[in-house]
């Protein structure tokens, strides 16, 4: 059992002074899994990840990373883990390659530099650029390269695509899928529902320092709430739409325009709309955070 578990967390409690950040987190990530860790800001995602690396110490609970206790074996764990912090800061006066070589030295110079160049090429990152001249997105690429370059057994990625443009996000997804195919376990936090859908095998949602849901992404999509704005070529009767399961009317303008709230998947709504004279349809991509805040505010 232990050999199949990459991360095991039981009853993890962390206080920062008087503030309780984690209230008994329980979580299990299997080896080879691509696991999404979701939650609003301040929910405890980063705190949980930092406990896994012994950067901070919990007051209670049990943690095992690759079968090891982070407090007893921090170096053995870190040698096998790649980490991308949520707030990435790098030494501004170094060039990208110098920063990567420093991280490589900390790992005992075991990096395959042809792989580093391949990663940099795929992410369109110039290794000779001074870090102080890099944009937020390019700094994020440096963070991704340093996390991936040692081909670790486990990747802990806090918001891996933050600051990247959509094309580059797709490239990161490909890199992560490839790493997973090579046997790496990936534990990542995100706010973006489409990212979770695209990547994760399983997802856990943390809120106020406790895991509130652990599920397949498909189920989360079903639970998510989104808004759909529809404009019609002529005034219509909206009743057939409102009668649909999980659809409610938020706003309408004389039957020519309507804003609907849709809970779960869109299939039934789209099929019903096919019979309407639709001129335009707009789906508001709410962040997962918003979607789940709405979900939990409704007391479900």
């Amino acid at each position: 059992m232990e050999q199949e578990t990459a991360i095991l967390i039981r009853g993890l409690v962390k206080w920062y002074g008087r503030i309780q950040a984690l209230r008994g987190v329980n979580l299990e990530v299997r080896r080879g899994e691509l696991f999404g860790f979701l939650g609003p800001n301040g929910a405890g995602k980063t705190t949980t990840i930092r406990c896994l690396l012994d950067l901070i110490r919990p007051q209670a609970g049990e943690v095992r990373v690759l079968g090891l206790n982070p407090q007893a074996n921090p170096l053995a764990i870190r040698a096998r883990v790649g980490y991308l912090p949520g707030e990435l800061n790098l030494e501004a006066n170094l060039r990208v390659e110098q920063a990567l070589r420093y991280f490589d030295e900390l790992r005992g110079r075991r990096t395959d530099w042809s792989f580093v160049r391949e990663l940099a090429g795929r992410l369109e990152l110039d290794l000779q650029m001074p870090i102080r001249n890099l944009s937020k997105g390019n700094k994020q690429k440096v963070g991704l390269v340093q996390a991936l370059m040692a081909r670790p057994e486990l990747l802990l990625l806090d918001e891996p695509t933050a600051g990247l443009d959509p094309l580059m996000q797709q490239e990161v997804y490909r890199l992560l899928r490839q790493a997973r195919a090579d046997g790496t376990t990936i534990f990542f936090s995100s706010h973006i529902l489409s990212e979770v859908e695209a990547l994760a095998d399983r997802v856990a949602i943390i809120r106020d320092g406790i895991i509130v849901e652990e599920a397949e992404p498909g189920r989360l999509v079903h639970m998510a709430v989104r808004r759909v704005r529809v404009r019609f070529k002529k005034p219509v009767d909206l009743a057939p739409l409102i009668r649909l399961d999980g659809v409610s009317l938020l706003y309408q303008n004389n039957g020519i325009e309507a804003t609907l709230q849709v809970e779960g998947d869109m299939e039934a709504l789209v099929k019903t709309l096919a019979a309407f004279p639709v001129s335009d349809i707009e789906t508001e991509h709410r962040s997962l955070e918003e979607a789940f805040l709405a979900y939990y505010k409704e007391g479900r």
């Binding site: 912090p85 963070g143 340093q146």
Partner: protein, 281 residues
């Protein structure tokens, strides 16, 4: 540890070179004046006799100005500690906490480097940078010394630098400890620098009020700093005592770092009860 040692040296390279070259140029200027001091002895003594006695006492025995050790002390080592102390204190206050406040330490410690290796590697890096600064200055004294008639051997010239190194090592260790105790590296640097300057002033005042302040200054580090006088005989016990005191300060600092929650970035709050009370009000 070696990686962190080299990394720290690389980071301190710029400021160490700046301080080293600056002090070396200043040293060259001072040493070049030495030849003319002997010929102007009477004029200088006459000039100095017009100064207030308290002012003269603050700087020690001005008659010693005409000996190599006294010249070194009064023109250079006597007031160098608070100046070069800025380098030592600011470098050490930011050695670990500076990176933590910039959010860099988080990622560094996510790599397979122990906190012990990080702590000692960085402090040794600082120590080597400090030695480099002082060595440049030493060379600036030693190389032209014979040509200006400075009657001290290269070995004798080295001794005041050892004394200075020891006292800066101690104040560097103090700044590092304070940085791990106080909420910010900046506050630690300011407090350590303040204590260094206060100690410097206290030593000066003890020459004026030896009965009142004399017994107190014995408990301060700069009392055991010989400055230029070390050229005539270094007190190895005092030197060892300063280094040992620095090491004693480093032990709790190391322990604090081992058990510290590494912050993601920014300075820590002071969490003063009085301020909390005011905010509530």
């Amino acid at each position: 540890m070696l990686t962190e040692f080299k990394h720290t040296l690389r980071r301190l390279r710029g400021s160490a070179l700046g301080w080293g070259i600056g002090l070396a140029l200043y040293s060259l200027m001072i040493v070049s004046f030495y030849g003319s001091i002997g010929t102007m002895k009477l004029q200088i003594l006459e000039l100095v006799s017009g100064y207030p006695k308290t002012f003269i006492a603050f700087f020690g025995d001005l008659n010693a100005l005409f000996t190599p050790g006294g010249y070194l002390d009064i023109y250079y080592f006597g007031y160098l500690t608070p100046i070069i102390g800025i380098f030592a204190v600011s470098a050490c206050a930011g050695l670990l906490v500076g990176d933590e406040e910039r959010g860099i330490l988080d990622l560094v410690l996510a790599h397979p480097v122990s906190r012990t290796a990080l702590f000692w590697g960085r402090f040794l890096g600082f120590t080597a940078a400090l030695a480099g600064v002082l060595f440049l200055s030493y060379l600036a004294w030693a190389i032209p010394s014979q040509s200006v008639g400075f009657e001290l051997s290269w070995g004798e010239l080295l001794l005041p630098f050892l004394s200075l190194f020891a006292v800066l090592f101690l104040f560097g260790a103090l700044a590092l400890l304070l940085s791990l105790l106080l909420p910010s590296g900046r506050a630690a640097g300011m407090l350590a620098a303040g204590l260094l300057v206060a100690n410097f002033l206290l030593i000066g005042l003890s020459r004026l009020y030896s009965e009142e302040i004399g017994p107190i200054v014995r408990f301060t580090p700069l009392y055991y700093y010989q400055g230029g006088q070390a050229a005539q005989g270094l007190n190895w016990g005092w030197l060892g005592g300063l280094i040992a005191s620095g090491l004693i300060l480093l032990l709790p600092a190391w322990r604090l770092f081992l058990h510290r929650d590494i912050r993601v970035g920014g300075e820590h709050g002071w969490h003063l009860p009085a301020l909390r009370f005011l905010r509530r009000g």
